[in-house]
Assembly symmetry: C2
Homo-oligomer: 246 residues x 2
């Protein structure tokens, strides 16, 4: 997404950091100290930012591109824990976990981020109460996100999980039929939703016939949000739209 | 478990609170303020402590019994998010989430807990840096626990999830065959592991034939930890034993 990357490059580290809820209510001098210690980097698809059990040296504020968070099993399979993009911070919580990352992170397309030293965050949390409180709020949101993920894996069937993924991409104000573009490869969407590719294909076919959506490559057409949300959201504890979860 | 309850009743609120990592490094006077505002309660099986979206009035420090944390879907199904017992705190993080519980909690057997006012925690976090830091550490552990839960739901098959549940109950120092008692009903274990009862029964039969364990009622006999852990842990990113996760 060159346009987003271009927009990002025009922002300064200070401006990117200032937008984060982590720095809400924080003194300018504190944000400035972080900005001065940070650098923008753009890396190609497939770059490993860190691996599970690595010592944390940096945390990353994403400004463009998608990053996969994953854990690897003893027999070599990979669990995709989350997929994150612009506005997300990754690796920051390692400073609370003995300085070690509890998951790995790798880019799935060209990605731009601001790289910030973990040691600075660790030291600042210890002495700055506002940052500690902001971090608590952000951890708490992450926890709610994970709780819903567990609920979804427990109660929604595969077709409903795919439909839920699509609903979250919809501009609800748009006129039907709604057109959207899948943000990354179908194989990654399958992994993100905890499915093997065969399961994903079968479930996608079922979703098509249940909700009349059409898919060509990365382009999805949704003729009726009502039909899709009725099919998806009955197996969830949140009523549609659950816009608080991005 | 009357013996545990009896042991608990001999402890004072101060002693129960002092043991929590939430109060590690906290001044005695602060812990004492919480202790004075707290009461022990013993409630029967099936007691709802709070429901999802309820305003948070109390948080609960469990001293005996099991409590189910759950979310309910629009069409009336229940996702069991976690099962917790002695030593766990529930409902504390609601003070970070606009004062509203993001899940419900109900006892699944007679349960004893210390009930502490949420307002006191909320006020203390705002002004006490040590408590904010301790809460950050505890949220971070919870997050790791949830990340593993997502991994397990994504990569382990149903039989492996049941086997993993059993491995965590084992006293590893014990002589084989190892005997253990399931901590709560099989229907709850199924729900906790995100399975319908039919799936649970089929998966349990498969686990039996793969690992030679035997089950009579709540009693399980495991002839070989090696065979069981080999079957279970190959699909996980942690090598056995993962004793950090309780």
């Amino acid at each position: 997404m060159p346009s987003v990357a271009a927009a990002t490059i025009q922002m300064t580290p200070y401006e990117v950091l200032k937008e984060l809820s982590l720095f809400a209510g924080t003194a300018e001098t504190t944000v400035d100290a972080f900005a001065k210690a940070s650098q923008f980097q753009t890396v190609p698809k497939g770059t490993v930012l860190f691996l599970q059990d690595d010592e944390s040296e940096w945390f990353y504020v994403l400004t463009a591109g998608w990053v996969k968070l994953f854990r690897e099993t003893v027999d070599g399979n990979e669990a995709v824990i989350d997929m994150v993009t612009r506005g997300h911070i990754i690796g920051d919580t390692a400073v609370l976990e003995d300085g070690v990352h509890s998951f790995g992170a790798a880019t799935v397309e060209e990605t731009t981020f601001l790289r910030v030293p973990s040691s600075l965050l660790k030291a600042t949390i210890k002495e700055n109460h506002e940052i500690a409180l902001a971090m608590l709020t952000s951890m708490s949101k992450l926890r709610t996100r994970q709780t819903r993920e567990i609920e979804s894996l427990t109660l929604q069937n595969a077709s409903q999980r795919i439909g839920c993924f699509m609903l979250r991409l919809c501009q609800l104000s748009a006129v039907e039929p709604i057109h959207l573009t899948l943000p990354y490869d179908k194989s990654l969407i399958a992994a993100r939703l905890g499915m093997k590719s065969e399961t994903f294909s079968r479930a996608l076919n079922k979703l098509r016939s249940e909700t009349n959506i059409t898919i060509k490559g990365a382009n999805v057409e949704i003729p009726s949000i009502d039909i899709l949300s009725h099919y998806v959201c009955s197996a969830c504890s949140n009523e549609f739209p659950c816009s608080d979860l991005t």
